[in-house]
């Protein structure tokens, strides 16, 4: 599995929110690596630190202790746009932009011309059967649809590392399964790594690897068990 350099490596990365007596340890010192082609389900109860870990891996947040690095990619500045895509747990579409504009935005940011970006974005939306919504504003579509648009937006840039935070949280089982299929297909097609955090065991079961989190800690034994299988 572990050929070449890891896409992301956490070396004792921990995250504490707040200071003093009210401080919350969201993530304990964590050591983990994700390599190209790995497909991982990150499961754990609410508040166990899944989102926190994802944000650290995405370079959107800094660990209070320890380090996060991206040996196969480079510095934090090189993660985006393009290499690392994040699908946020909450609504993350830009309210004043249409579905199509939202989807093409990271591509334009990455330097593509507006016209090309729209074409690529259209293809990505079609993969998720969202092309009919292309001209709608975020406020005009449902929460589930918005979440799928966020998935399409993440995939449009063909990233090497996809970090999806509860991408099926607001979806019914069938469309959730479809989204997971699309994510798996995309990662397989591009050989990219995929990390999906979820509560939903049926989602987790679709993924070859599973990391379980509890009170800010990845249960290493589950990871070992997986690997030995």
């Amino acid at each position: 599995m572990s050929e070449g350099l890891p896409l992301v490596r956490c070396s004792g990365a921990a995250r504490t929110y707040g200071k003093g007596p009210t401080a919350t340890v969201a993530l304990q010192a964590t050591y983990c690596e994700v390599f190209a082609g790995q497909r991982i389900g990150l499961v754990g109860p609410s508040g166990s630190g899944k989102s926190t870990l994802l944000h650290l891996m995405a370079g959107l947040d800094d660990p209070t202790v320890g380090d996060v690095s991206w040996p196969a990619i480079g510095t934090r500045d090189e993660l985006r746009p393009g290499r690392v895509a994040v699908i946020f747990q909450g609504p993350s579409l830009l309210p004043p932009l249409t579905v199509l504009e939202n989807t093409s935005l990271p591509l334009v940011i990455g330097g593509m011309t507006d016209k090309d970006a729209r074409e690529v974005a259209h293809t990505a939306l079609r993969t998720l059967d969202l092309d009919v919504l292309a001209d709608k504003l975020p406020e005009e579509i449902s929460g589930g649809q918005a979440q799928r648009v966020a998935v399409a937006r993440a995939l449009a840039g063909e990233p090497t590392l996809i970090l999806a935070d509860e991408p099926t949280g607001q979806l019914d089982r069938a469309s959730g399964a479809a989204v997971v299929e699309v994510l798996l297909g995309a990662s397989e097609h591009a050989g990219s790594a995929l990390l999906i955090s979820t509560h939903d065991m049926t989602v987790a079961e679709r993924l070859p690897e599973r990391w379980e989190m509890h009170s800010g800690e990845i249960q290493t034994d589950t990871r070992e068990a997986q690997w030995s299988r």
Partner: protein, 889 residues
């Protein structure tokens, strides 16, 4: 209780919102209260100036048959009269004096008998030029006519008896000669054109001796006037003081039962002052009210930038079981909090401003009006707070649906109601119509028909600028909205330099927030227009006040030769040029010319130099610019400029010959001199307000055999004109009257100089600057703050600072650029309208607007600086992606 704990939470965790609102409230309150202070100080200043401009408050003239002693006692015991003295007036066929072998004789003259203590009782009435005040005094012009000095003997001719001699003790100037020699009881139109030239003022006892034979034979030739001073404890408001003085004068007349008529000099002065006061109030309306409205709008905009968050808060409270009533109460608590803090801060600021600018801390002319002003300002402040916080909250509380939360952004298919009905166009059309209509009759705002006690304001005509202002603001909104909705392609093109490939995206973002942005553009335009028009009006007003004083004085210093003197051009210039502080000396001939039976003043000019030396303005002439007309006079020496009235009366056409009769300098005979009518002069330095001629000096000199100069217009080299005037005075002595522009400003006291605008405009300009900067910087900054989340997402998607800058600077440029450009256009139109509408304060109307570039560049700079600051702060905050923002919801 919920409301209070919510408020406490708000103040401790998110104080920006109520404090920003309070700040807006404070600005509005301070502005209104300062205007109150301004009005109160102007009003009392105007009253005091009017009083100071009068030397003898009342001249009560004894009617035939009345006993002077009885009249004196009645007047001096009349309530409010502090001092009353009887002055006697007699006539004389002529005065004669012989000095150094030559004998001079005057025409008809006046002899006055002054009681002891007159000079101290009415200070300013007699200005001693040489000699001493105790004894026989001779008026300056008379002294000059007779070539007498203190110590000389003057012979007074007496009707029906032998002449008698008196010895001159002093030469005096009579600054108030006009009112001193008024025809008491006659209407203003029936007064003498000019006061008498030949006047002797005798002590009472001398007068009695001199006039004894006449008193015995023809007592009706001697008139008695009681000169009275009133207690000056008058109301601060000129109009109240006027009413008071006039009714007292009437009261006195009725008590005198026909034995005396009151010449109410004080009342006349206060009458002018109350018209000026009314103008001051209108100026306040024009310059102050838009400022207060803008303060309200800016506050509302600032508050509305927090509206999304407020809605989210309310929705949250709702889901936790808060009732509509609770929500309303919370909104009211916040309103009261922001309102009270704002009102207190605003009143405090107004006190400081009043103290430093006007030296008064009272908001009104009296205690009652002070309380009313403070109360009014406070109410406006609370209204601003209510309109900014309570009103939107109330609206939301009633319809707190998800749709309600989606207002700021969206497709908003239909424009606002006013736009659909074209209210902007309707307003502008009505404004245009009223403006046109009112222009037809010269835009008379303050109606003061002669002989009517009531002064009134033509409120209808005021509607034009008001509606124009509102209409223009709405039109700017419409235009901005149009560009954002229909002009996506050009907008994208314009944004490309700032946003690069992201330009279409930025354009879309802006287009979907066009309500917010159009509102910001309209507000920036309105504040820019406010700052622009106020400052242009102010500097035009100042320039015109200067021109007015210059017009009446002629130049920095005017040296007017006595009519008898015959000072030649070269001689006069040589004498004046060597005085320290004198820059240029321009001779101005003054003659009397008969046109038919009419006598008019004629001014002979040197056409080559008068345009600059007399600082001639184009507005003073018709038929060409000042320079054009002077060129004509230079080329054709017989060319003449006449008044419009003369053109009408004599049916003149350009080129017509005009024969005037002028006195020959040698023969003293009237000779006919032919001129050609070539243009109209409405105003001219030192010229009277009515009809006069302007002609070529050398032509007049050649035709009349005399180059005697009437007056010299002296411009200083930068030295204070008053100082130079003193120096000149000591050189020329009593042979010429020397006046300077500094004192002239006070003495003339026309509308212009009476309404002290500088205080108001200083406040205005300060507020305009603050408002313009706040409107743009704060509105943009707070808007960005509200959309932190949007920026955070873009940043999480990989947008670099430069790209986020595309969004921030794109919006900033649109709002600032659009607002400033449209605002400048509005300011231009508004300034022209204002100057036109307030034409009554301009006399004569200005040639062109004076544009205070320094201030305007300052305002533009302040606006751009705050915009840059807002943008930089926003981008700085985004440098690290705000993960908290993404965690929300």
């Amino acid at each position: 209780m919920v409301a209070l704990s919510w408020l406490r939470g708000l103040v401790t965790h998110r104080p920006t919102r109520p404090l920003a609102t309070a700040l807006g409230v404070a600005v509005g309150v301070a502005l209104i209260a300062s205007i109150g202070t301004f009005l109160s100080s102007t009003n009392s200043k105007m009253t005091h100036r009017a009083i100071a401009r009068v030397s003898i408050d009342w001249q009560v003239e004894a009617q035939p048959g009345a006993s002077p002693a009885d009249l004196l006692s009645k007047v001096s015991t009349f309530p409010g009269v502090t001092r009353a003295l009887a002055v006697q007036f007699a006539g004389s066929p002529s005065f004669t004096a012989t000095t150094q072998g030559s004998t001079q004789t005057t025409g008809a003259a006046r002899v006055l008998g002054l009681p002891a203590g007159y000079a101290t009782a009415f200070p300013g009435e007699l200005r001693l030029l040489s000699g001493s005040l105790s004894g026989v005094l001779v008026a300056q012009q008379t002294a000059s006519n007779l070539h007498v000095v203190p110590g000389s003997t003057v012979t007074i001719a007496r009707p029906g008896t032998t002449p008698t001699n008196v010895t001159v003790a002093g030469v005096v100037d009579l600054p108030y000669a006009d009112s001193l020699f008024q025809h008491v009881g006659a209407p203003p139109g029936a007064q003498a054109q000019a006061p008498p030239d030949n006047v002797l003022l005798l002590p009472q006892s001398t007068f009695n001796q001199v006039e004894a034979p006449i008193l015995a034979k023809r007592p009706e030739l001697i008139k008695t006037q009681i000169h009275a001073s009133l207690s000056h404890a008058l109301a601060n408001s000129p109009s109240a003081a006027f009413d008071d003085v006039v009714s007292r004068a009437r009261n006195l007349e009725s008590r005198l039962t026909g034995t005396g008529l009151v010449g109410d000099n004080l009342g006349t002065a206060l009458d002018t002052a109350r018209q000026d006061a009314l103008y001051a109030q209108i100026l306040f309306l024009f310059l102050g009210v838009p400022g207060a409205i803008l303060a309200g709008l800016v506050t509302a905009l600032i508050a509305s930038a927090g509206a999304d968050r407020r809605r989210r808060d309310s929705a949250l409270l709702r889901t936790r079981g808060a009732s509509t009533r609770t929500l309303v109460r919370i909104a009211l608590a916040e309103t009261v909090f922001a309102g009270v803090i704002g009102v207190l801060a605003g009143l405090g600021a107004a006190l400081l401003i009043g103290k430093s600018s006007f030296g008064t801390a009272s908001f009104g002319a009296g205690t009652v009006s002070a309380v009313l002003w403070a109360l009014g300002a406070a109410i406006v402040g609370l209204l601003i707070a209510a309109g900014s916080i309570a009103l939107p909250a109330l609206r939301d509380a009633r319809s707190l649906t998800v749709a309600g939360q989606r207002r700021q952004i969206g497709r908003t298919a239909r424009g606002p109601l006013w736009a659909r009905y074209g209210l902007d166009f309707i307003f502008l059309a009505i404004a245009g119509f009223i403006y046109w209509q009112a222009s037809q009759n010269g835009y008379q705002l303050v109606l003061a028909p002669e002989g009517v006690a009531q002064v009134s304001v033509n409120w209808y005509a005021l509607l034009a600028p008001v509606l124009g202002w509102i209409g223009a603001g709405l039109l700017v909104y419409r235009l901005a909205d149009l560009v954002l909705s229909r002009g996506r392609i050009p907008l994208t093109g314009a944004l490309r330099p700032l946003a690069g490939e992201l330009a279409p995206t930025v354009a879309s973002t802006m287009s979907r927030q066009r309500r917010l942005l159009s509102r910001a553009v309209a507000l920036v335009a309105l504040t820019a227009a406010f700052a622009g028009s106020t400052s242009v009006f102010n500097s035009t007003y100042r320039a015109q006040a200067e021109a007015d004083a210059r017009l009446s004085n002629g130049a920095d210093v005017a040296v007017t030769e006595s009519p008898g003197a015959s000072v030649g051009v070269a001689q006069g210039i040589a004498q004046l040029k060597q005085i320290r502080g004198v820059g240029s000396v321009e001779p101005l001939q003054h003659r009397y010319a008969y046109i038919g039976a009419d006598l008019q003043d004629l001014f002979g000019v040197r056409p080559g130099t008068i345009t600059t030396a007399g600082k001639l303005q184009n507005g003073w002439f018709q038929g060409g610019s000042a320079a054009d007309l002077m060129k004509i006079i230079a080329k054709d020496p017989s060319a003449i400029l006449v008044s419009a009235e003369t053109v009408k009366d004599y049916q003149l056409h350009r080129g017509d010959t005009l024969n005037l009769r002028l006195q020959n300098g040698q023969t003293k005979q009237l000779t006919t001199v032919p001129f050609h009518y070539e243009g109209v002069a409405k105003e001219f330095p030192t010229a009277p307000k009515d009809s006069f001629f302007v002609a070529n000096q050398s032509y007049v000199a050649a035709k009349t055999g005399s180059d005697a100069v009437g007056s010299f217009l002296v411009q200083t080299d930068g030295t204070n004109p008053a100082v130079v005037a003193k120096r000149i005075s000591s050189v020329v002595g009593s042979s010429a009257a020397v006046t300077d522009i500094v004192n002239q400003r006070v003495v003339v006291g026309s509308n212009l100089t009476a309404v002290e605008l500088s205080g108001l405009t200083r406040i205005e300009l300060g507020f305009a600057l603050v408002l313009a900067a706040a409107a743009t910087g704060l509105a943009l900054g707070l808007g960005f703050q509200e959309r932190r989340r949007t920026f955070a997402i873009a940043s999480a998607l990989g947008a670099r600072s430069r790209q986020l800058g595309g969004f921030v600077w794109g919006e900033s440029a649109f709002v600032t650029g659009g607002g400033l450009v449209l605002g400048a256009v509005m300011a231009g139109v508004l300034s022209i309208t204002l100057v036109h509408v307030l034409t009554g304060v301009f006399d004569p109307p200005p040639d062109a607007l004076s544009i205070p570039w320094g201030y305007l560049i300052g305002v533009g700079g302040a606006v751009i600086a705050t915009v840059l600051l807002a943008g930089i702060i926003t981008l700085r905050a985004l440098r690290r992606p705000a993960i908290e923002e993404l965690r929300d919801l």
